[in-house]
Symmetry: C2
Subunit: 335 residues, 2 copies
């Protein structure tokens, strides 16, 4: 006799939903409940019938998430949310780390994995809209700022608006020499350009002149780049009173450089980031930042992708925007 989800739930004394959560590998099941369900699964020799379900629908049951770097915690956190949202719709997610190179991204986009997956959620850095035009085959949803209004469905947030708000917060602290860290002039720097535009807009709103000496470039957005850029700003003699870093890892590096220079945050220099990664909630000081709703971004992307896979593949591409909020902490407010 083949057992069903219901039988496992009865045996374990829990709801069908709970069994489903365990089977799908969700993190938020209490350990003792999980143990009870796993015991019932073992006793009944229950096997989730995913393959049959997918076969019936002509699916592989697998979607891919392609991101530039899992070392950037933003992408690791986003991946967790995508895995959770996809599991609810019965998909396993395989993650592809592209390194952000155009050629590698083009290989991903043109479906090296086409026979493996039902669809692709893709956050490109180097790819252009032209690289994507004319691709057909694997349904795809794009994330991030590199390609919007392109040939595929897209989920993003209002980068200019968010950068403008957090810069306005720094202005509101009474600081006027406000630096920016993370500027990029390359084709890959779409996020950088939008965040710089928001920074510039907030300065203009406040009647503060844009000073190029306060804008520090960063080829990559890791902690080491943030620390180096902050050191360069301090060494240059333009003494900033506040700094807006274009992501949180840059900001954590900047915090470190300020600490080494013996400067107090926020008393001497207020620091803000972008992304709301977990690190910034535990750093000393905790980090003020833009918190994009990553769970919502992931859910919208998975649902849009599911709509393409199961529905109309030829409908015009859609643009969805996810919300964000300011998460203000010690690095700008003090203790």
């Amino acid at each position: 006799m083949r057992h069903r989800l219901k039988d496992v739930a009865e045996r374990a004394g829990v709801s069908v939903k709970t069994v489903s959560n365990v089977v799908n590998g969700y993190a938020h099941v209490r350990p003792d409940t999980r143990a009870r369900v796993e015991e019932a699964i073992a006793e009944l020799n229950y096997r989730p019938n995913l393959s049959a379900r997918n076969l019936r629908k002509g699916r592989t049951g697998v979607i891919a998430l392609a991101v530039p770097e899992l070392d950037i915690p933003y992408f690791a956190e986003l991946a967790r949310h995508v895995v959770t949202a996809a599991a609810e719709l019965g998909w396993t997610v395989l993650i592809d780390q592209t390194g952000g190179g155009r050629e590698q991204e083009r290989v991903v986009a043109s479906g090296i994995t086409e026979h493996l997956i039902d669809g692709l959620i893709f956050s490109p850095l180097a790819l252009t809209a032209e690289d994507l035009t004319g691709l057909d085959g694997t349904p795809m949803v794009l994330l991030g700022e590199r390609v919007d209004h392109g040939p595929a469905d897209h989920v993003g947030i209002d980068n200019v608006g968010a950068a403008r708000e957090i810069t306005a917060h720094l202005v509101g602290l009474g600081r006027s020499r406000i630096a920016a860290i993370g500027a990029q002039r390359t084709a890959e720097g779409a996020s950088a350009r939008l965040r710089l535009a928001g920074y510039g807009a907030a300065l203009a709103d406040a009647g503060i002149a844009y000073d190029e000496r306060l804008v520090a470039p960063a080829a990559a957005w890791h902690r080491a780049d943030g620390a180096a850029a902050m050191r360069a700003l301090l060494a240059s003699g333009v003494r900033p009173e506040a700094v807006f870093c274009f992501n949180d890892t840059l900001a954590l590096g900047a915090l470190r450089a300020l600490h080494e220079a013996g400067l107090r945050v926020p008393e001497d220099v207020a620091v803000a980031g972008f992304d709301d990664i977990e690190d910034g909630r535990f750093s000393v000081p905790t980090l003020s930042t833009i918190a994009p709703d990553k769970e919502r971004i992931a859910r919208l992307a998975v649902e849009m992708l599911a709509g393409r896979i199961d529905g109309d593949r030829t409908a015009p591409a859609r643009e969805l925007s996810a919300p964000y909020r300011l998460a203000l902490r010690e690095s700008t407010l003090g203790r």
Copy 2:
């Protein structure tokens, strides 16, 4: 005319190896070199002939890496090294985040992805050796402490020895009330048990009595768990002079809790972690830790897997050990 790697290299004025690095998406190519190679690729309309190469060998060209959580930076950093090592052998890596649940891990191990991949590198938390026995099919290499001396090839490090060394370092600072954070009594706690054993051995070496009140459990090993465990230790009245945290994210949480309690690190309490994640090189203070050679672990795993895929699949399982070193920083040495 179909162009080859050599043609691209000539056009771009670089070595064939450099073109290969760009095509395989390695991070460490200089941006201007990368741009020149990508331009040459575009001009010649060069396409890497991976599929043909793999087809000839009867491969999909894809291996999977299955880890419990990408939010734990250790796994994200390991993933980057696996992607790099695998690319050198012509494999694309898809990453599967299992959540660490036994049922989800069993599905991965029993080859839900068997038709998709040539092989699997797997870091299980909940899986037992019995879950793996009798599996055949997809070649597999195991990482971590959950299943060693099991039915599959395994790469690990000497956890007991490493924990003993870092604890001995804390003893060497003249501290005797040394706490441990991260103990786990569940089946999933294999790493915790080994690290606790090393901690106990170092105390015994130094003639310090083992005091259970100094051993704090942590169900998960995230920053929030480390902060909560540290707060509980401080509230309990056993005033530790040093603390060994079983991973770096726990330690970063403990640093935060000590800061909030107004205690100085390392003057009042010295703190050490395990993993050497990037965060700990930029935290305030920087974190002393065990640095497993993650690059070597990744390379050994990929090479062992390649050996299985291309060679003898029935040879007895092998155990390889990767080196580690102590990375001593401000959280134990001061500035």
